[in-house]
Symmetry: C2
Subunit: 330 residues, 2 copies
DNA sequence: TTGTATGCGTTATCAT
DNA sequence: ATGATAACGCATACAA
């Protein structure tokens, strides 16, 4: 017991400056000895805050997202905020919209990594809600702040690289069609193709869903083609690896028989056989940037009026490795 | 307004049975119309609970852990608990022990995925703390409940497989030496070797840290050996892939020149070139089992008196693919 | 079955 | 600079 009122204890702990030096020390010492801990729940109730942000992620098990999550966690913990994770692919949708997290005072803000969620998903009637930031994907035309990679630009980089190597027949393995990333990457692919005076052939598009298995399927389609493109760009490294893996089983060699470019630069890309040429996206960094943006909104909500489309685009870069090579003619 | 007291509203929402049918409907309807949300913070304060569990993970970006996390999240959200994640590798250790999460009423329980954390890490003086469950790794001799894989058994499976293929010279790429997984897997490796009457050679142990890069380093060491083992077991798939990748760059062929067995069965294992023979661990499942164990402890703390070593071991299984083959003599 | 009143542990306000 | 006190929003004991 430091023989002071609870108010003084509170001040000594949360506003050290507003208390006399001696009292402060006495309180600190008493706290140490008694093993006292502030009750965060009570503090949050009083302060009308949750002390946490929630992250909506399509699949935590996916390294693409978990890396972004790592960046978010690092940033949030530095700001003294807890990170809540919610998997949007859980079959618990009957429990009601994930937006509950916000309206229940569970979290002070939300980070959305799932581009398939419409932005009206979160509105409950017309009630105001805590800040939301979209990261890495988002529905077209959302009015919510968003951070993303330059996906179209990344695809273009891939095409430029292949065209520079002399390739004129270039195919593309798509992600899920309703995914914004897929659409953007395809857009960049087509734009770059046009820029190089190359045509887009429908049978050189291969369906996929970002997974290894779908990449392997694409390989089967490629093998079945009479007129095969000499190079393939993909919408994810995993599909690129699946594609190469299946080709290998059929005796087709990368990059001798076909060049392959991935997308994401996941860890294994550098060590795949052959090492995968790909488009790198700084995933940890996007997590940090997005978390910082959200934290800014939480700390100073007024500075960013509703409807102001705050957008930040991070560049993607080309990493040349061994899965691409020049054509014979080049 | 349903024209009732706040107490009735509270009851209608949290104890529907204790309120008249008509009143209940009126309240529900009023709630819907007014857009009322219960304040979880206030509820938690009153109930003296946090409504959340915290997961201590060494590295969220690592797919090994993020998969376990996915299992945890699924289970916890089914039980109405939020999941807080904390990265133990963050340089924020100066903020004090992660145990704060518990003592601050931030969480009702804790799941520890980081075996390098001593179990006295969480004690603050001698105060009682909410339940803690170790999952997948733990310090030797902890008195805390723990769920894990049969790591030693998994390693033994790998050796049995290779011995059955005729291999008599078998090496092993280790994980970090202070890691429990490393120690267990090594123990199983040596036990199985002895069972087959094979000797353990010190220069057939390769240092590693679970990463791709360390696997590649091990390949360099293997290449430098005068007398090389014809088969290698590893303590992680990533090291196995790094090992094969580096060998490939040096023109050494797996499995023709050396057989390789991984550990974990990460997604890419099936699609690596060649497809990796490995020891599968149901990672999502361990997350579910661990989360359920923790939830049980939270719901009924008395049933598991302190000091009772609750332990559950999940089996590992051998997945034979293309990175292993019989020796010429076999 | 429902209402009244009190307390959960903090912090903010107002005195002193 | 410090103490007394009210209030944050909910859940419960008790009364009606």
């Amino acid at each position: 017991m430091a023989n002071v009122s609870t108010a003084t204890v509170s001040r000594a702990l949360s506003t050290p400056g507003s208390v006399a030096e001696g009292t402060r020390r006495a309180v600190i010492e008493a706290v140490e000895r008694s093993g006292y801990r502030v009750n965060q729940t009570a503090r949050n109730l009083r302060r009308k805050q949750a002390g946490a942000i929630v992250v909506l992620v399509p699949n935590i098990g996916n390294p693409f997202f978990s890396r972004i999550l790592a960046g978010i966690e690092a940033t949030a913990s530095k700001a003294g905020l807890n990170v809540l994770i919610a998997d949007t692919r859980q079959p618990q949708a009957d429990e009601g919209p994930l937006g509950e997290y916000l309206h229940n005072n569970h979290a002070d803000g939300m980070l959305v990594l799932d581009g398939s969620l419409r932005d009206d998903f979160f509105s409950h009637g017309n009630h105001a809600h805590p800040p939301i930031v979209y990261a890495c994907e988002w529905s077209e035309g959302t009015s919510l702040p968003s951070i993303r990679f330059d996906n179209a630009g990344g695809s273009a980089l891939a095409v430029d690289h292949l065209a520079g190597l002399g390739h004129t027949s270039i195919g593309h393995i798509l992600g899920p069609l309703d995914n914004v990333l897929t659409q953007e990457r395809r857009r960049g692919f087509e734009a770059a193709l046009a820029r190089h005076g190359l045509r887009v052939r429908n049978d050189w598009y291969f369906d996929g869903d970002f997974t290894l298995a779908s990449g392997a399927n694409a390989a089967l389609s490629w093998l079945a083609l009479a007129d095969r493109p000499t190079a393939i760009t993909t919408s994810s490294d995993e599909m690129a690896c699946g594609f190469m893996s299946e080709l290998y089983r059929h005796g087709v060699h990368v990059p001798d028989d076909v060049s392959v470019v991935g997308f994401d630069d996941i860890d294994i890309a550098e060590r795949f056989i052959p090492a995968l040429t790909t488009i790198r996206q700084p995933r940890m960094e996007i997590g940090e940037v997005a978390a910082n943006a959200l934290i800014d909104l939480i700390r100073a909500p007024d500075r960013t009026p509703v409807g102001t489309a705050f957008t930040k685009v991070l560049d993607a870069t080309l990493i040349v490795r061994s899965s691409t090579r020049a054509t014979a003619e080049a």
